[in-house]
């Protein structure tokens, strides 16, 4: 059992305190999404340049085509996760008052989820052509 290697006292374990075992998750995920982001950013530029000056009908057709739609979805979802971690790090660095800290952490999450969901919904709507 895990308890054999547990250095915490029984009381501490029962209270649910001790390490969260997720200390480096944000660090690793930020690297993961930054690496993916390099390729997705290049792909985004190709998509945008290919769409410059096109009519709405042509834009819908390009954005709705499966490959472009998947690239855009990957870019958006990768970006909002990356920027969610990044803004959280900035908030934790500069906002020390608990009230404002938790409020801004909440707003950060709301913003990232809203931008990600709205963009993903738009791409899916264009793809499925409803």
């Amino acid at each position: 059992m895990k308890a054999q290697h547990d250095m915490r006292t029984p009381a501490r374990r029962v209270r649910g305190l001790g390490p969260a075992h997720s200390g480096t998750t944000d660090f690793w995920h930020q690297r993961l999404t930054s690496f993916a982001g390099v390729f997705l950013t290049i792909a985004l530029f190709v998509v945008i340049i290919s769409m410059l000056g096109r009519s709405h009908a042509a834009a819908v057709q390009i954005l709705g085509s499966p490959i472009v739609a998947v690239i855009m979805l990957l870019f958006i979802l990768n970006s909002v996760y990356h920027m969610w971690i990044g803004m959280q790090e900035i908030i934790l660095d500069y906002v020390h008052d608990d009230k404002y800290k938790f409020l801004s952490l909440m707003l950060n999450t709301f913003f990232c989820v809203a931008v990600g969901l709205a963009s993903a919904f738009a791409i899916l709507k264009l793809s499925f052509g409803v």
Binding site: R31, S34, F35, G37, V38, T41, F45, I48, I49, S50, L52, G53, H56, A57, A59, V60, L63, M72, I76, S79, V80, M83, G86, M87, I90, F111, V115, A118, S119, F121, A122, I123, K125, L126
Partner: protein, 141 residues
């Protein structure tokens, strides 16, 4: 500064402070680190532009025309140009950090070179992207 109210003039003396930003001479690597964070923060709000683009395309020709009118205006193009630079600068800065994560490029000359390359590269790439963009549009309009 941090003296208690009980401290007299005789006992009052500046407490030792750990070195912080303001006592260092600004260095390029330090400034680029700050710029990396600033561009990240700008890109955070710049995603609104991306979301607007996608939603307007999904909404219909009228909404798309409104979006196009905005990005086609002078202010819109300035924002888009800044967004392009911020994205490329943040991307190159990120690559620099990934290189540093592998414990390479920490020699004084190397880290300076990497930092200059980030700045010069981001400006050059931004211009390249916009020149390609204008060629794709068929010349400046």
């Amino acid at each position: 500064m941090a003296d208690s109210k009980a401290g007299t003039a005789a006992t009052r003396r500046p407490r030792p402070l750990s070195p912080h930003l303001q006592i260092y001479r600004p260095m390029l690597t330090m400034i680029m680190s700050i710029v990396h964070r600033i561009t990240g923060g700008a890109l955070y709000f710049g995603t609104l532009l991306l979301a607007w683009w996608l939603i307007s395309a999904a909404s219909g020709p009228n909404a798309y025309a409104t979006f196009e009118a905005f990005v086609g205006s002078f202010i819109g193009r300035v924002i888009l140009f800044g967004y392009t630079w911020a994205l490329l600068h943040h991307m190159l800065g990120g690559i620099r950090h990934l290189i540093w994560d592998t414990l390479h490029g920490f020699q004084p000359a190397e880290r300076e070179w990497l930092t200059v390359a980030t700045l010069v590269g981001s400006i050059a790439l931004t211009l390249v992207v916009w020149v390609i963009g204008y060629i794709a549009l068929g010349g400046p309009r």
